[in-house]
Symmetry: C2
Subunit: 256 residues, 2 copies
DNA sequence: GACTGTGAAAGGGTTCACAGCT
DNA sequence: AGCTGTGAACCCTTTCACAGTC
């Protein structure tokens, strides 16, 4: 025990913070770029810049994985690529099914980033019988009747839902019943799943709405000083006891 | 300071937490559903369930917007729809351009959720001259030479990038130079933008990798007890001074 | 009685700043 | 000298629990 001791308080590979996990793919991508350019080592500063984060955060993130750097030198690119890949579970192959082969589903099937890094599109599934057999991205679409069989035959544990909103929960239920435990949902719905099943959501319209919020903010800033956005609101309140439309004031409903 | 009436500490419509902003679209969607079914009021409990959050969080979120509920009763659906829409800036129309009309761009153009709620696809832009004029989702694709003109003619402030990764930064720079201040980026790249420009990123492969991490976790749990995922790691270290692959153990680089 | 609005407590995540190693 | 690894401070977010209002 001559060294600095602190035996590492059992918090090693257990309990990597979620925020850190979400950034690992980012680091991995940056590292892959460096690897392709045969860069042997990077400092936290350089890598952080390439990944678009600050270096303190990156160092802390890596510290959760272990001590993979060398003081005074930096990180070995190849070694880090391997460690992060392993931590993310990308050293194994993940068969994935995509359900709902409309515009978006087809785009996903064709997306190169899917195929690389451990993910393999095991099947494309659609409810439309007319689509069955049609090749999309080189894979024949299968009818959703086959869903359960496909899942179990291929040992699929990750499913992607790109159906219309109305079908998503139903598809989700079938995926889960068939053994899928991770779902990436592109349909604009809240999916309910049993404990132990992970759902991640990608929602285009939500992202746009968040941008619109900040955009409006910026626009309001120019005409600053007076609280602009509150100012032009109609003076109606919801309080049933008081005034709610009795005075011909618009209830102000959005189109849809 | 006796207690009682804190006069609302000037933190009214200023400074809505980012986490809250990100959930407003979720609430809005749930409320729209209720509105279509002509439900007049909801409790925080009901609405929270529909939006997939817990009710305390929802109430706190709404408290940042103002006091829009009625104690003992709940929230007036129509009124809340209006207030949230206004807060998000959806009572005005946002022209949006989509740059990069490949599979994904086309899917986005066709996505219904775009058109509803204040967003209007003002133009589709692609670098391929062969695509110019081709109608996608009822809109003729325009060549990227026109980008600057399109932006300024239509007063576009929100741009969507669905180009390949290699083109994204360049497209981003042109969008920003032309006046766009909010960007939704689907390309797997870190975009650098000047201050004052917002970027949101949607990255399919990152989402999958996060799922894979948790999936691997679950798999490791079954064979629990011993720290499985660390256990099978090859005992190589990056320290250039010490051992680095000398023992024929794979450096294990990802394919790409 | 029912349900909102909100202080206060608890929990994560980020940033700082520096000790410690090479 | 240079750069990592990390306690400690700080900040943001979530949750609790209850006073306040209808």
């Amino acid at each position: 025990m001559a060294t600095g001791r602190t035996h590492r308080p059992a918090t090693r590979s257990r309990g990597i913070p979620e925020a850190t996990v979400a950034r690992l793919p980012l680091y991995l991508r940056a590292l892959t770029g460096l690897s392709e350019r045969s860069v042997p080592t990077v400092s936290s500063e350089e890598l952080a810049a390439a990944a678009g984060v600050n270096s303190a955060k990156l160092r802390k993130d890596f510290s959760y994985l272990g001590s993979y750097g060398t003081r005074g030198v930096g990180y070995d690119v190849e070694y880090l690529v391997y460690q992060i890949s392993r931590e993310l579970g990308l050293t194994q192959d993940w068969p994935v099914v995509i359900v709902g082969i409309g515009n978006l589903g087809a785009a996903l099937a064709n997306y190169g980033g899917f195929a690389s890094r451990g993910f393999r599109v095991a099947a494309l599934i659609d409810a439309d019988p007319a689509m069955a057999g049609t090749p999309v991205a080189g894979i024949a679409v299968q009818h959703s009747d086959e869903l359960e069989k496909i899942i179990s035959d291929n040992g699929v544990s990750i499913g992607v839902i790109s159906t219309p909103a109305g079908a998503a929960q139903q598809v989700c239920d079938r995926l889960v019943a068939a053994g899928v435990t991770s779902i990436l949902n592109f349909a604009p719905t809240v999916l309910s799943v049993p404990d132990g099943v992970d759902v991640r959501k990608v929602d285009l319209s939500i992202e746009l709405q968040i941008l619109a919020f900040h955009e409006q903010r910026k626009a309001g800033e120019e005409a600053a000083g007076n609280n602009a956005e509150q100012a032009d609101a109609p003076p109606l309140r919801a309080t049933p006891a008081s005034r709610k439309g009795p005075d011909g004031d618009v209830p102000a409903v959005m189109p849809a």
